[in-house]
């Protein structure tokens, strides 16, 4: 597999939030606005890249039997670092993401990539994979946050363009589920076209 493929894999073909359906809890909870989605996504990306790198470095030293606890400790370390950094530098973001920053530890994406990719591949590949997956996740959260903010508050990135309230239900819990469901459905439409395009390229 070439380097570019590893990097772009997480964007569409294996987008963690929309295709693999991992990390659903933060995807639903923090996407009340596009900025929150972006912040959460970037925090997760940082944890993914760092933990992938370290786990891949240590992959020959970690005994197979205790690998899951070892992975969890490594991941938890980086999550604590991110948590403290966000609290220190962007307290507003820490306020709105709240409990979901420490919960990156149990985000299935991070442990999933550690187990499925970083424990078997070289350091550089693992970093690329973490970066791709993280950015794919960020993209998904950003898109969902964008739509929820647009429909729920009538605003784009915090700038209101209508008077009064939007369709409030979209910023509340039910709207999260609805928007997520429809975004995945939209994603289901995409790959079909993609594969046809690649077929065409092949036949040409």
């Amino acid at each position: 597999m070439n380097k570019l493929k590893i990097f772009t894999n997480g964007f569409i073909k294996e987008n963690p939030a929309l295709v693999l359906i991992l990390g659903t809890c933060p995807a639903l909870a923090v996407t009340t606005s596009a900025m929150n989605g972006l912040g959460m996504g970037l925090a997760t990306t940082f944890v993914l890249v760092m933990s992938n790198a370290i786990i891949s470095l240590l992959r020959n030293f970690i005994p197979d039997k205790v690998r899951i606890p070892a992975f969890i400790v490594i991941i938890a370390t980086f999550v604590s670092i991110v948590d403290l950094l966000i609290q220190g530098f962007v307290p507003a973001l820490a306020e709105s993401l709240g409990i979901f920053i420490p919960l990156i530890v149990v985000n299935c994406i991070v442990l999933g990539r550690a187990e499925a990719f970083a424990s078997k591949n070289t350091v550089f590949d693992s970093i690329l994979d973490g970066l791709g997956m993280g950015l794919g996740f960020t993209l998904a959260l950003f898109v969902m946050g964008f739509f929820r903010e647009l429909l729920g508050n009538g605003a784009i990135l915090g700038h209101k363009f209508i008077e009064g309230d939007g369709i409030l239900i979209f910023v509340l819990a039910p709207g999260a589920f609805l928007v997520y469901g429809f975004t995945i459905a939209l994603m289901n439409l995409l790959p079909k076209k993609k594969s046809k395009e690649t077929e065409n390229v092949k036949t040409e």
Binding site: C25, L172, F177, Y180, G181, I184
Partner: protein
Amino acid sequence: MILSCVLVNNIILAQFLGICSFLGVSNKVSTSLGMGMAVIFVMALSTLVTSLLQKYLLVPFNLTFLQTIVFILVIATLVQMVEIILKKISPPLYQALGIFLPLISTNCAILGIAILVTQKPDFSLLDSTLYAIFTAIGYTVAIVIFAGLREQLSLVKVPKKLDGVPIALIISGILAMAFMGFANLV
């Protein structure tokens, strides 16, 4: 507190914790009930242990920045221990809950509640444990209702692009709306 935890602030439909298992094991009413029971059991125990640790170890020694690491390790170990003890003491219970236990250590609801109760300063140990139990009951209620809906859903035809996860999410959205109706109860 009961009404608030079980219905109004339902952990799945209003707080978005434990969605992975919510979508994963909610195909049948019986399995979801088993999962719910296991969650009640583990959540009560883990919240008790983690709040003890928080109160007597982390806070007095100024180690709260280690909270995430300590809690996740405690929960993972606890789940393992519960599994081993149940196997020995009560084989029928182990039979019923056994396969769900390993799944629980990665259930974000457990860690989520453990951290949430530490953020409520006026909670005593008893309060925390009760809070965990009621929340877990709310989880069970939601997952069982949802499993019932999904069983019905498997009988009808769904547009192809919406089949599977998307329709499940849309249904949970509608279910969440229904639960919002309880908002004025407390």
